[in-house]
């Protein structure tokens, strides 16, 4: 990171978010992909679950497929595992075309949403099941099972049956079982969905540590954007069977490529506007709801007079009484309409714009001190300010 920072300083250029150190295989076009979906389509009758999708995933990557229910993410994973066959298109794993290979011969293992533990076997036997199918020597099976029990901190539960375990322990058994065969890629289907919030957060970090230790490629399917952003090196946002954006969590959050992604990941203000001036240094937009303009350092291929959306995250909008910050490029007068006090932050909804075309702009206000002298409250006149690089211009 130090290297990256130094480089950033020399060029006086800001970069987006943290990236795992020296691990960006997707940026070099020559790097061979480990998993490749090539023009894959899957239809169930009339319904198209996955539509002509191409995707490259690299070795040792922790990759997340993110999307709402029915977006095709689980179907995509099940095709990789072999439980569904693509209608058209090819899937490659480590250079091998997977067509016609049944699930029990594929070098991938899957952790199921329901865990799918074998109820009539002990934890040990559950973990050893896959190894026995490979006809490994009993001593080696014993060693591997012990290693997996250690990795998932399940040593004292080895002799128990699944129904004698808590949800978190079952989740770890399922993980240990799917990792025991040292698969080329581990598929995780909503692995933490059944856990409560605290346990889920802990387990996310455990998953990341295990992935770092084993250096296995992980592919996770989830509908939980926080989970995807926490664990993944890269995220693919899916909608209606297609990829909308594939990028690092920080890029997805800070530079979404469409209104769908901006809205799906986190909270966002989408301001409808028209382009009034373009230059290499940036763009000036006029808000449709009249009364304010937006100065941005973003360039756009939209022409003068075109309709665009300016997406800005609430935490990038600063809110203050009176004059606000004189050096901010954008300053908009507003009237406080609603306040949601969440403890760590307050989300303040302010009315901006003129007449009947006004709109609500959300700003996050960090509650950094317990006592405030002159707190912002309902019906206050405020100034909302943000920098030239605070938001992005979206066309679709």
């Amino acid at each position: 990171m130090g290297f990256l920072l130094g480089w950033g300083c020399v060029l006086a250029k800001k970069s987006i978010g943290p990236v795992r150190r020296e691990f960006t295989p997707w940026e070099s076009p020559d790097h061979p992909p480990f998993i490749e979906f090539r023009n894959v389509t899957k239809k169930f009758g009339d319904f198209t679950a996955v539509n002509n999708l191409s995707l490259k995933i690299y070795e040792r990557e922790f990759f997340a497929l993110l999307g709402g229910s029915g977006c095709g993410k689980t179907t995509l994973m099940r095709m990789l595992a072999g439980f569904e066959t693509p209608t058209t298109g090819q899937i490659f794993l480590d250079g091998q075309d997977l067509a016609g290979i049944p699930p029990f011969r594929r070098p991938s293992n899957m952790m199921f949403q329901s865990y799918a533990l074998f109820p009539h076997m002990s934890v040990e036997k559950n973990i050893a099941f896959g190894l026995k199918q490979d006809r490994l020597a009993p001593s080696e099976i014993g060693d591997r099972v012990a290693e997996m029990l250690r990795l998932t901190k399940l040593e004292q539960f080895a002799k128990r049956r699944p129904h004698q375990l808590s949800g978190g322990q079952r989740q770890r058994v399922a993980l240990a079982r799917s990792l025991a065969k040292r698969p080329k890629v581990l598929l995780l289907d909503e692995p933490l969905g059944a856990l409560d919030r605290k346990l889920r957060e802990e387990t996310q970090f455990e998953l990341m540590n295990i992935q770092e230790e084993l250096k296995t490629t992980f592919l996770i399917v989830t509908h939980d954007q926080e989970e995807a952003m926490t664990v993944a090196d890269r995220i693919a946002v899916m909608d209606k069977g297609e990829l909308v954006q594939v990028a690092t969590p920080a890029e997805i959050y800070e530079a979404p490529n469409s209104r769908f992604v901006a809205d799906f990941i986190g909270d966002v203000n989408l301001i409808e506007a028209t382009v009034v001036r373009k230059s290499e240094a940036g763009t000036r937009l006029d808000s449709v709801c009249e009364g304010f303009a937006i100065e941005t350092n973003q360039t756009t291929d939209a022409g003068i007079g075109d309709r665009v959306w300016y997406a800005i995250r609430p935490e990038k909008v600063r809110i203050a009484h009176g004059r606000g910050e004189p050096d901010a490029a954008n300053q908009i007068d507003g009237l406080v309409w609603d306040i949601a006090y969440l403890g760590d932050v307050s989300i303040i909804h302010s009315k901006v714009g003129k007449g009947d075309r006004d709109t609500i702009l959300r700003a996050t206000f960090a509650n950094v001190s317990r006592m405030v002298e002159n707190p912002i409250t309902w019906d206050d006149e405020v100034v909302l300010s943000f920098d030239r690089d605070a938001g992005v211009i979206l066309r679709g």
């Binding site: 029990f104 109820p119 896959g130 129904h163």
Partner: protein, 274 residues
């Protein structure tokens, strides 16, 4: 409002149970009668049980019945389990509801009709009737009961457990024997016991489909009773009652265990806090 038993409740309870069990109790008591006359009590004795051991005809009939029950229950269990698997697993296929309706039809079909139709079939096939035709007939109707019992077990079965086994390198057929069968085994065993019991005490279907040399115990008893009830028959019936009671209790115990196990499995499947 009084919660305790009233005279009316007690009377109806006693009458109801007497109606059900008095004949059977009388039969059991008279099987220990010393007197040769069935209706006159002549003191306690077990001589009829002893003489039963020397009645080759009855023993033969009992042996035939046990063999028929064992073979037909086993075949019915295999076929019934397969039918249940198809019904629960295959999703939608053309004729699915017709098939599932047809497999339950023999449950409500009058036995006389079932027996008669099987007899007509065997005659049409020019098949000499005997041991194997009785087995075939019993398999036919017992299979439906097995299918019903196993199906109830399969409905709560999480399909992803089998997928997990395949994902871990286990081919489908091996998965069935290593994973699916052990999990549904209580249902299969209960189905087998039910089929065994049904075959053991069937008179109607057996009489239609049997031939010379393959007389089952219920048929033997029925034909002897027509010549007059002997205390020996009482003794045989007592043994049958005990056998059937044991089988029914065992089957219900297995089913109850299966119920408890199923609830556990469901909790496992959904990964809830246990």
């Amino acid at each position: 409002m009084t919660r305790g038993p009233t005279w009316f409740n007690i009377t109806s309870l006693v009458m109801g149970f007497s109606f059900l069990y008095l004949p059977i109790v009388l039969l059991v008591i008279y099987s220990f009668n010393k007197s040769r006359l069935v209706t006159v009590w002549g003191g306690f004795s077990t001589e009829w049980y002893v003489s039963l051991l020397h009645n080759d005809q009855l023993l033969d009939a009992a042996w035939v019945t046990l063999r028929v029950a064992f073979v037909s229950a086993s075949v019915a269990t295999v076929l019934g389990t397969a039918a249940a698997l198809v019904l629960v697993r295959s999703g939608r296929f053309i004729g699915r509801s017709l098939f599932s309706g047809m497999i339950f039809a023999p449950l409500v079909m009058p036995e006389v009709i079932l027996g008669l139709s099987l007899l007509l079939l065997f005659v049409a096939m020019d098949q000499s009737r005997g041991f194997w035709t009785v087995i075939l007939a019993h398999t036919t109707f017992a299979m439906c009961y097995v299918a019903v019992v196993v199906q109830s077990r399969l409905v709560g079965f999480d399909k992803s457990i089998e997928e997990a086994a395949e994902d871990l390198g286990c081919p489908p057929v091996k998965t069935f024997f290593l994973i699916t069968l052990p999990i549904i085994l209580p249902g299969v065993v209960a189905g087998w016991m039910l089929a065994f019991t049904l075959s053991l005490d069937d008179l109607v279907v057996a009489s239609f489909t049997t031939g010379p040399g393959a007389t089952t115990l219920p048929m033997k008893i029925y034909s002897q009773v027509r010549l007059g009830v002997t205390p020996e028959i009482n003794a045989v019936c007592t043994i049958l009652v005990v056998l059937v009671t044991c089988a029914v209790i065992a089957a219900s115990l297995v089913t109850r265990r299966q119920q408890v196990q199923k609830e556990r499995d469901e909790r496992t499947a959904f990964g809830a806090e246990g």
